[in-house]
Every structure is written in structure tokens, then in C-alpha cells.
Symmetry: C2
Subunit: 338 residues, 2 copies
């Protein structure tokens, strides 16, 4: 029997495991505080390709290859792959994965995509529908910047609340039998919208959905922040993280001691001039796979919530006066008892 989802929350019955993971990051991410954590740091934003979009596809190929290698399996051993990205029509994923011939589920959760793919892979593995499934995503500073904001050559001034889209990718192999990190449960996000309309303040637009998802999981599982070594959000950045803490405090919970944000961790706020930190699907994916999963594997972290947040607007929806809806998906990870 597989787990039962109630109000979006589930505890796994058969404890799927993370069998392999891989991370790749760009030059700037490699120069940040987590630089040494990533499996591969690419010195050139084009990765030897003609276009940034092809470079982003290559990031996904690289992180999957690394994850498969660490798991000691090949693409043939994977029953399904979940992938998506920020580029229009998710082309980084489609072109990045077309050679692999793995049964393919395209997903779109903006920057929550990694957690969304992991939830679906977990549910299928927990129900024994798959032996192994992969979740992967990517982002690229240059593909995102020109699509969501301005052409890079325009040299637009960045606002104080803006974040820096990471050039990065992360991939995990989720297995029903083998692995070093346990997946204990999860929480499927609901769409939240607090009326924020500033595309340069994405952290604030996404914070409410992170709060809703984390609170829903804690309530449903009867746990408190103290039960976790860390409660990680995807890319709220500095401003969004502050709002996240404030909003949870208003609900009577203090997460300030256990909260970490991948977007805050990945860049040095003093030296790297990224304003509010990193963002993009690849931000939380690469920080999970480069930084947190090894810590869980080594037992340095035993119990953690990984909550990736996504902003579900488009440049067009904002031009049409819409606010920014967001979603946050949560995956509950545990270091395996030795």
C-alpha cells in the first residue's frame, strides 16, 4: 500500500530513498560560499554551446549524468524522469533530455520545480510503481534575465529587492530500495497570492506560500520547528526570508533558529553584489544536491524539510496588471540511521 495524501500532506509508507544526486553550477555560483560543494563548476556561461538556452540544457544533462553515476545506474534503469525549467515551454528540459529516452513527465512549478518533481517521484516510488525515478531542473542567469527582465546588453539597474538567477542544475535519483537519504513525507503546495505585483520582489511574493505549506505540514504531522535540524526554503532571498520568519511568528511559531534559504546561502551578500541572493529553479536544486544531501548522507543533518518556492507569473501576466501567484512544495528528508 502506498501513502495517503490528505490536505496535500503525506507520510511515506515504504520510505523511498535518494540513491544518487548531482549538482553543477556556473562561475559566479562557484565563487560563492558553497562553491566547493558543487560536483562541477562551469567556468564559461556558454558551456561551449552556441546559445545560453543550449547551455542550460547541458546543465541538466550534466547533473543527471552525475546523479546516475553516483547511484551506479544508467538511464535504462530509470522508469520515469520529472523535469521542468523557467524558459518558455520548458525547452531546457525537453532538449536536455531528448537523447536519454527515459519516459518523460514535464513539470512546471517555476522555482518550486525540484520539490515538485521529487514529490511525484517519491509518490510513484512509494507506491512501487517505479523502481527509480529522476527529478531534475535547471536555471541560467542569462536565459532568465533576458526572458523575464531586460536584454543583458541593456545594462539595466537592478533594484535592491532583486535576486540573481543562478546558473545551476541539480538532479536526484529516487529509489524504492536503495539509497542513503530517506524521504519521510511531503506536502503538495497550493497556489497562494498576496497581491504582490513587483517582479523584482519575488521573495515577498513567494513567502506566503512557503509559510502556508510549512505550517500545513507541521500541523498535519504534529511536529514543531524544534523537531527539525533545518527547515530550508528555496529562493526567498534576504527580504523574502525575513518576511517568512515574520509571517510564521505571527502564527505563533519561531523558525528563526532552524530556517535556511538556498538563495541566501549560495552567494556572499557582501562581496558578490547579488542584492537579495540567488533564485531560479537551479538555485534550490543545486544547493540541495551540492550542500544538503551530502550533509544528510554524512549524518550532519538528520531531519530536514526542503521547501522549494515558485512564482507562477509571467512577464505578460504582470503587464496585464495581474499579481504574482506562488506555490511551495515540501519534501521531508532524513539522514539514514547507520
Amino acid at each position: 500500500m502506498a501513502c495517503r495524501i490528505a490536505r496535500g500532506v503525506f507520510k511515506t509508507e515504504n520510505t523511498p530513498l535518494i540513491e544518487g544526486y548531482g549538482s553543477v553550477a556556473g562561475k559566479k555560483e562557484g565563487e560563492g560560499p558553497l562553491g566547493k560543494s558543487f560536483d562541477v563548476v562551469e567556468p564559461d556561461g556558454h558551456l561551449g554551446e552556441e546559445t545560453w538556452e543550449k547551455a542550460e540544457s547541458k546543465l541538466q544533462k550534466t547533473s543527471i549524468r552525475l546523479a546516475l553515476k553516483r547511484a551506479g545506474v544508467t538511464a535504462n534503469d530509470i522508469d520515469a524522469v520529472f523535469s521542468g525549467d523557467l524558459i518558455n515551454q520548458c525547452i531546457a528540459s525537453a532538449y536536455g533530455l531528448r537523447e536519454l529516452e527515459i519516459p518523460f513527465f514535464g513539470v512546471y512549478g517555476a522555482c518550486s520545480t525540484m520539490a515538485e518533481g521529487m514529490l511525484l517521484a517519491t509518490l510513484l516510488a512509494d507506491g512501487k510503481s517505479v523502481n527509480r525515478a529522476v527529478a531534475v531542473t535547471s536555471s541560467h542567469f542569462s536565459t532568465a534575465e533576458r526572458q523575464f527582465r531586460f536584454p543583458l546588453s541593456y545594462g539595466g539597474q537592478r533594484t535592491p529587492t532583486s535576486q540573481w538567477t543562478c546558473t545551476a542544475s541539480g538532479a536526484v535519483v529516487i529509489s524504492r530500495e536503495k539509497g542513503s537519504v530517506e524521504i519521510a513525507g511531503g506536502c503538495i503546495g497550493k497556489i497562494a497570492d498576496m497581491g504582490i505585483t513587483d517582479i523584482n520582489n519575488m521573495g515577498s511574493a513567494m513567502a506566503p506560500s512557503a509559510v502556508e505549506t510549512v505550517m500545513r505540514y507541521l500541523t498535519a504531522t504534529g511536529t514543531t520547528p524544534e523537531d527539525y535540524d533545518c527547515i530550508v526554503t528555496g529562493d526567498l532571498g534576504i527580504v523574502g526570508s525575513r518576511l517568512f520568519i515574520q509571517l510564521t511568528q505571527k502564527q505563533g511559531l519561531d523558525l528563526s533558529g532552524v530556517h535556511k534559504d538556498c538563495g541566501v546561502l549560495i552567494f556572499d551578500p557582501e562581496k558578490q553584489d547579488t542584492h537579495c541572493g540567488g533564485s531560479g529553479c537551479g538555485c534550490s536544486a543545486s544547493v540541495l544536491c551540492g550542500y544538503f544531501l551530502p550533509k544528510l548522507e554524512r549524518g550532519e543533518i538528520k531531519n530536514m524539510l526542503f521547501t522549494a518556492t515558485g512564482a507562477l507569473m509571467s512577464p505578460m501576466s504582470l503587464q496585464q496588471g495581474e499579481s504574482i501567484p506562488s506555490v511551495a512544495h515540501l519534501v521531508h528528508l532524513k539522514g539514514r540511521e547507520k
Copy 2:
């Protein structure tokens, strides 16, 4: 125990059911041969909204509402919704569903989205992870045309192989216990790419993936075309359907007697000037929900394969000289024995 996916193919163990379905279509679709099949035909492309994008969101809201009503349930009874669409960043789905507060999985399979969402909902229902999940998608002629081709006011000449993006939406409620149509199995698509680069010949770009998916399902289940009342493709259109038949004949199978294509069915080729027929996520979704599901329910069709096809390119990937990858997802539907 849930079903086991092998090479992308699965047979359900617990036979999830379609408990409700709803369809809505635009004026032109309403004037076509299936016009009377749709639950609702909208006389105005704006649906009373300021923008086409908001109108498309409203299509999704309408089809879900109809599907919930037919199932006799409310949004609170739905454990998860799978939704996606063709607009950049899938905004028709995000804005269309934000009020419903259902745990939300964004999916992107281009015009294969309906079958993709149905596969995932089926797998979760078969594993008893959900009691009910919804799959929904939409497309809109005017949002698609200006995004993928030209501004409508430009009045560009359409090529002979072009298809007409349908203004339509379809939604299904998939239940693990109740319903009138059985889901017997499915096949998850793999990305195929035959090197087609003509954005006005999408049917030909998608035909190879439909062939691969259908052949894989027939082989894995040991069935032949004669076992089915109909084998339905999503939106190959007239040219793509011809290619689909030719390619399967080359592999020794004659599907010409059982093949139907939603894109061919939805418009009158003589009177409606749509060239090769309909396309878009909403094409196969609305034809499934408006035309085929009632026939299955009434026992006029007993055994059918629904194979929705998606072209995974973007305008940018084509500008960059890439070919068009495609994917086809298959859902095996059976009229319930009375």
C-alpha cells in the same frame, strides 16, 4: 499494491475510474461537427474578460466546475490537480486555479498535457494515494497565435499544413472508487525528434512520438489494433494523421480502420478553413471530454486508447535552428461493464 511501470507502460491494479468530466469550447469549435457535444460553447473569445489570457484561465475554471458538478463533488473533495497549458509559464493554469485551493501540480507536455495529467492522476489513484484527482488543460486560439506565430492583427497567411489552435478546455475527475469509465492502463511518452523544423507542420513533428508510444503499448500489452474500438490521437491533424498511418504500416500494423484524431474531428475541413484541423492542449481535452467519454459511458465505445501528442519546441528554440522534439502520452480507457 499499485501498478508497476515497465518501459513506460503500466496496467492499473485497482482500475481508477473517471467520475466526472467537463468540456467547454469557443464559437468556431461550437460551429464544427462536434459542436453539440461540448457542455458549454462560449460565443465570445474574450469570455467577458479583458484579455485573451484571462479568458483562457476562465475556460479552465469552467471545465473544472463542470467536471466537479458531474461527479457530484466540490473542490474540497479533490486531493490534487494536474494542470498546464501552452502560454509561457503556464499562466492560464496558475491564474485559472488559484482560487480553488486544491494541492497543485503544474505539468507541461504541450498538447499532450491532458494525457500527461491523466496518467499522473491515474497512478496516484491506483496506488490509493488520492481518492480523487483532477486533470485539466486549455488552449486559446488568440493566446497561442500571437505567442507562437504572429500578432493576429498582422493577418499573416496560413500555410497549407498549419492547424488551428482550439479555444477549448477539458477536465476530468479521476477517482479510485466511483465512476463510469475505467482506466485500464497507460504509456508514458518518451521524447522523440525526427528533425522537423517547420512550426507550421506540427502534425508531422508529433506523428513519430505517437507511433512510438502506441507501438510500445501494443507490444507491452500483447494487443493488436483489432482489440480496440478506436485508437485516438490528439492533434496530428490531416497531414500528421496520414503520416501516423504510414509509419505504423511500415511497422507492419494497419491502424487505418480504428484511428481517429481529435484535431481532424473537431473542424469541418470543407467549410471551416482550418487547413489541417485543430490543435492545442484544449483540442484533445475537449474532444475527449465532450465526445469520447460520453460514448464510453453509454457503451458505444468499449475499448479505446487516448494518445495526446505534444510538440516541445518554443519559438526561440526554432529561431536558434533546433528541430521540434515531441512526446505522446497514452491512456487506455474502457467503457464500464453494466
